[in-house]
Symmetry: C2
DNA sequence: TCCGGGCTGATATAGTGTAACGCCCGACCG
DNA sequence: CGGTCGGGCGTTACACTATATCAGCCCGGA
């Protein structure tokens, strides 16, 4: 075995990492090795990952890693719009890449919604403008000035709904 | 001082507690003294309250109270629709009273949204059908079967927006 | 009487997130 | 060159949030 446990190195993930680094640089952010490692772990996971799960995996490459190590990386990645937190799960998912949402006219701080399958744990991000507008309108109707919005739906994904 | 610290005993809160107890009983739930105390603390607060803040206050009346004491009460109150959790804050707020939402045709498990002021901490619950429908529609469009929805908007409340 | 379920007490532990200090290093400037 | 300033990271310690588990109590029904 040439590759160690930590490396499944999906080429698609590596490509996404390179694109992310590029996007960061364009905004004045530095995609350091640590941040890249954390983002790789998130993008390689099939479901949202908890901070401490990331920490465990990270220690393979960085024995000295501690909670602040991963939380600081996560904070950066969230600011860059590369990662979102799923509040209901206290876990993190990669954003398909902000670029993937350019079609709906949003930048890297785009509004998004999560569909969380309570059975298989799959969490998919959608980007629905009607939802975003409805929420913003409802807020503004009360004089509230919206800044950031969290929308998370728990239920059954299409596959699990059929299986059930 | 006749009343001790723990008792501000807002008559409106007491009335809400009585109504809540009634509503619980109608559904087969028991509003015990402990649960009533926890609900009173939540309804008396101006902002969402953390479980451990509740615990601290609760200990005035129940020296032996421990985390499970308050979490069990909270679980019951949430099931009864008397309390909601604000995920972004890991804190709990009283529901205006499910009855307050009968006007929009929902029962005690009604869809709701939170407007969280990042400056003063005030958190208001709204009940907007367009939002609820937009979210449900967006989810169903992907074959997802929605079960429970969390919508939380962080921003500035009307008062703070003016002050800022 | 005995059983069972719901509620609470009590202890222990798991999981999530931050504060605070200090070091290194590279950028920038006099 | 020397200084210093800021960002990123290591490290320790701690705060906050949540749950598992076992035991005791009360009450209503068989």
């Amino acid at each position: 075995m040439v590759d160690t446990v930590a490396e499944s190195r999906d080429p698609a993930v590596e490509a996404a990492l390179d694109k992310a680094a590029e996007a960061c640089a364009a905004r004045g952010g530095q995609m350091t090795e640590l941040r890249r490692q954390v983002l790789r772990l998130i993008l390689s996971a099939r479901a949202p990952v908890g901070a401490y799960a990331l920490l465990d995996q990270l220690r393979a490459a960085r024995p000295g890693a501690a909670p602040p190590t991963v939380y600081r990386a996560l904070e950066f990645l969230q600011e860059q719009g590369l990662v979102h937190k799923v509040e209901r799960l206290n876990a993190f998912v990669g954003c398909a890449g902000p670029d993937a949402h350019h079609h709906c006219g949003h930048g890297h701080d785009h509004p998004h919604q999560f569909l969380i399958c309570g059975r298989c744990g799959a969490t998919t991000e959608v980007c629905d403008d009607r939802v975003a507008h409805a929420v913003a309108d409802a807020a503004r109707a009360t004089g509230f000035v919206p800044h950031r919005t969290t929308v998370e739906v728990e239920g059954l994904c299409a596959a699990c709904a059929l299986a059930a």
